[in-house]
Symmetry: C2
Subunit: 334 residues, 2 copies
């Protein structure tokens, strides 16, 4: 391992001068700088971030705590966060919690022990618990994408989940649907549900929330099972709102399995706008969140001058999985 001392020796200066060169401090004379830089190049010296971190307290590492990599929503977000942080010179320490609070707690402590410069924390259903620990550890953080309002959770960068639900509900309402089921990950997506209910209430429309348990509700398979149950129990349903796209993909799958054609026999709408949504069969109508904006804002909030709360607005993306209700076709089958 070649150290700053080796470089100093070779360039005939002290390590402090080398340090000054590395950190671009304007105190070094031009020819000294040149000599040092040559020594660095010749030896292939790369300054230790460990030692620097220890001395300065800055490690140029950001901890990223996400619920799972199985949902493209998070991987798309991580990808953007990584790119954004990279331009600022930061690296990423990745932790997935899989909804296990103890594991998450261990990971948070480890991140602290690594002296990370900041933490980007996603809501996995146990945020409030995690936030307590994060505060106790004194980690700078930003809470990202969370739906439930946590007291004193700021800084928070998130989406307007209620409005997303509203847009989904309003879309189906405007298409004339009156028998609508909601399949969701609860209680996490309670706010999205609330928004949808608000939109539907404006058309005095009945709603059948098919609540599915927290374990399965994260996966496409969970959406499939819930949808299959709802659609057989309530054949009069002509439209389904899924509180996130992965679930919606499962609904699509269930519809196909039950011989319900989408969108002719059944309209399906999701929330998030993950990439596979656009590539589904049929392409999924959904409410899009500006994932790239979220990533930007999260980084800005964590590293920049302190802000409080940012909330980003979703917008409707109409594709092929929703259409006008045609003469109550669903009811005929009942």
């Amino acid at each position: 391992m070649v150290t700053i001392k080796d470089v100093a020796l070779r360039a005939g200066v002290t390590k402090q001068t080398v340090s000054n060169v590395i950190n671009q401090r304007p105190v070094v004379k031009a020819d000294t700088r040149a000599r040092v830089e040559q020594a660095i190049a010749e030896l292939g010296y790369t300054p230790s971030l460990l030692a620097r971190g220890l001395a300065t307290g800055r490690t140029m590492m950001i901890g990223l705590v996400v619920p799972t990599l199985a949902n493209p929503f998070y991987t798309e977000l991580i990808t953007r966060l990584e790119r954004g942080l990279e331009t600022d010179g930061y690296g990423i320490a990745l932790c997935t919690t899989d909804g296990d609070p103890d594991r998450a707690a261990r990971q948070l402590v480890t991140l602290k022990r690594r002296y990370i410069d900041g933490l980007i924390l996603f809501d996995d259903g146990n945020v409030s618990r995690h936030l307590d620990l994060v505060r106790q550890l004194g980690l700078p953080f930003v809470l990202c994408g969370s739906e439930t309002a946590i007291p004193d959770a700021s800084p928070v960068v998130t989406f307007d989940h209620g409005h997303a639900g509203y847009l989904a509900g309003a879309h189906l309402r405007d298409l004339g649907h009156r028998e609508i089921a909601v399949i969701g990950e609860f209680p996490a997506h309670e706010v999205r549900l609330g928004g949808a209910q608000r939109a539907l209430a404006e058309g005095s429309i009945a709603i059948r929330p098919a609540r599915i348990g927290p374990t399965q509700a994260k996966s496409q398979h969970g959406g499939f099972e819930a949808a299959a149950r709802v659609l057989t129990d309530h054949p009069e349903v002509t439209a389904v709102i899924a509180t996130h796209d992965l679930l919606a993909l499962g609904v699509l799958q269930a519809a196909a399995a039950l011989g319900r054609r989408v969108p002719d026999d059944l309209s399906v709408i999701g929330i998030d706008d993950i990439i596979p949504a656009a590539e589904a069969q049929p392409a999924l109508t959904t409410v899009a969140f500006p994932i790239d904006r979220l990533a930007e804002e999260a980084i800005g909030t964590l590293l920049g001058p302190s802000r409080e709360t940012v909330s980003l607005s979703p917008h409707l993306v109409v594709r092929a999985s929703t259409s006008y209700r045609v003469g109550g076709r669903g009811i005929v089958g009942a």
Copy 2:
């Protein structure tokens, strides 16, 4: 920040004794240990991994360099690697290359500067270039999942890609298909193609490799476009091999768009067995790689006693996207 010194002071011992307690060295007397442990608890002390890393040279961090998070194959792998490494106390520094060799090079240098204990490197099409740098930096590594044979690349943990291609080809051959297209990410998946060709040659079957460019070939969309082109140009094709599942999902999508029913009008087979493959419409027949085994072996090879090369065998998973060729139905449409 509470340090080992604070603990020592409070427990009335020196930091060395505290260190001995932390590291479970059996030299500490029981009551001293108890006193130290209590001080640790009272102060909420967590040993700095930076300082320890600097002193010992071990950071308990593993670098993970992957091509992209947009392919579930990698996220499934990362998830397993993370779990496996976590039980050994290791954390993950994540880097995605997105096929950009310069970026990858910068990331590798940064990982080195972080004194990571090891590197798990995936093939993104530029491995040989990266390997040179990794060796030059002196990073302990394991090359993971790579297909192309790199001279002196060991240690390598990978799959038998040739056999995977063979299994895919043999399956379609046995189902009676004679007009088969291959859609793939080349040259990366040349070996898979070779295996498929070997199987088909055994039935003296024609093959139409539809090579698609390296940029698009990574995504489902790329598979869609390539399949659309091939299927319209060559309507006599009754079966498609995609060299990885994401591509195969795109083929499914293209078939639907062109009104070719799968598997009746067209058989489709992929390779990898990612989770969305099982949830596709229809469920995708594919050649499965033991992702969990790969993760295990990669960790074992990197951290355990040194081995050379591990190659894991794939197996065929028959689902709903392949069937017997029925009287050349595809040709009728031509």
